[in-house]
């Protein structure tokens, strides 16, 4: 009797709207598999990865700024929304250093010191040893750097430095992958929240979108 009651209670808790929310978040989660598929069909090459990351930036920035913040502020009060959005951003910025950090070992190297990209944005770049051939070697994680017995001296050529990384890499890639999976899992939980809540309000968005744009 108890066994029969449990699933019944769950279905009571989850009405059609909730099930829809779950379905959406599952679909969004499955996109991760799609990315994985891409990775095993074709090893990530820098250009493709940059393109995909760019797409993600475009989509997320547009969505969050236009829909979640600007439109929201027009409907629900500028100050409240600004405060909440600011709190959200701040929460992430404060939490972010606590999350483990990785970089993807992409195949295919970038142009040496390509443009303004070198360290202009990332604080990590400044921490890297100066001898590091700027952007030459595939991205290196903290773990790889530690695993490396000796830091490349200035005298070492870029090629030998790359070779050291190459040998260290295989041993660490697996760990890197799993740590990455853990990180992504942590990132995905709040995303699931977001998708679920957005889905609950989906019906209201249409006319508002037309108004804002």
């Amino acid at each position: 009797m108890e066994d029969a009651a449990a699933p019944w209670r769950v279905t009571q808790l989850l009405g059609p709207a909730e099930l829809k929310a779950l379905a959406w978040s599952t679909l969004a989660g499955l996109a991760t598999t799609l990315g994985g598929l891409l990775a095993i069909i074709k090893r990530p090459e820098a250009g493709l990865l940059a393109f995909l990351l760019g797409t993600a930036i475009g989509v997320m920035a547009t969505l969050s700024v236009l829909e979640l913040i600007v439109q929201n502020a027009r409907e629900n009060g500028v100050w409240e929304v600004a405060l909440c959005a600011g709190a959200g951003g701040l929460a992430y910025v404060l939490m972010e250093p606590l999350l483990p950090h990785f970089e993807v070992p992409v195949r295919g190297e970038g142009g040496p010191g390509g443009g303004g990209a070198s360290g202009a944005l990332s604080a990590e770049a400044e921490v890297l040893p100066a001898a590091e051939p700027a952007g030459r070697v595939t991205r290196r994680s903290e773990a790889l750097r530690i695993a490396e017995a000796k830091p490349p001296s200035a005298a070492e050529s870029a090629a030998s430095a790359a070779a050291v990384v190459e040998t260290a890499r295989k041993d660490n890639l697996l760990r890197l992958g799993f740590l990455m999976a853990v990180t992504m899992t942590l990132h995905n939980l709040p995303e699931g929240f977001a998708v679920a809540f957005a889905s609950l309000t989906e019906g209201d968005f249409g006319p508002v979108r037309a108004r804002i744009l």
Binding site: A39, A46, A50, V104, S122, F197, A198
Partner: protein
């Protein structure tokens, strides 16, 4: 929203699977790990629905979404953008950003 998160999950899956595939050479293994990490998405949704929803009012929901919007904007700036720049393919990055923004803007207007 689901679309935006889905699009952003694609490079995430790639990031998870690529190192594992490179290390083990096992496609199934790499794909499986990416799949499992994607599954945390509905788990988060379920938690949200079960524990947070009872306290929701329409206004609180909107404010929650604003909070999420703040998080997502921060993710773009703090995480995705630097990662994209590190690929040293700024043109590709810019093309992707434009495409993503265009897709999203289109869905905001027409969907």
């Amino acid at each position: 929203m689901a679309l935006a998160v889905a699009v952003h999950n694609i490079p995430e899956g790639l990031i998870v699977a690529a190192p594992i595939y490179a290390a083990t050479g096992s496609r199934r293994y790499a794909l499986g790990t990416a799949f499992v990490s994607g599954l945390s998405e509905p788990v988060g949704a379920l938690l949200a629905l079960l524990f947070v929803k009872p306290f929701l009012t329409p206004l609180r929901l909107q404010l929650m979404l604003a909070f999420v919007g703040g998080i997502m904007t921060a993710v773009c700036w703090v995480e995705l953008l630097p990662e994209g720049r590190r690929c040293k393919r700024d043109a590709q990055l810019a093309r992707g950003t434009l495409l993503g923004g265009a897709i999203m803007a289109a869905t905001l207007v027409y969907v």
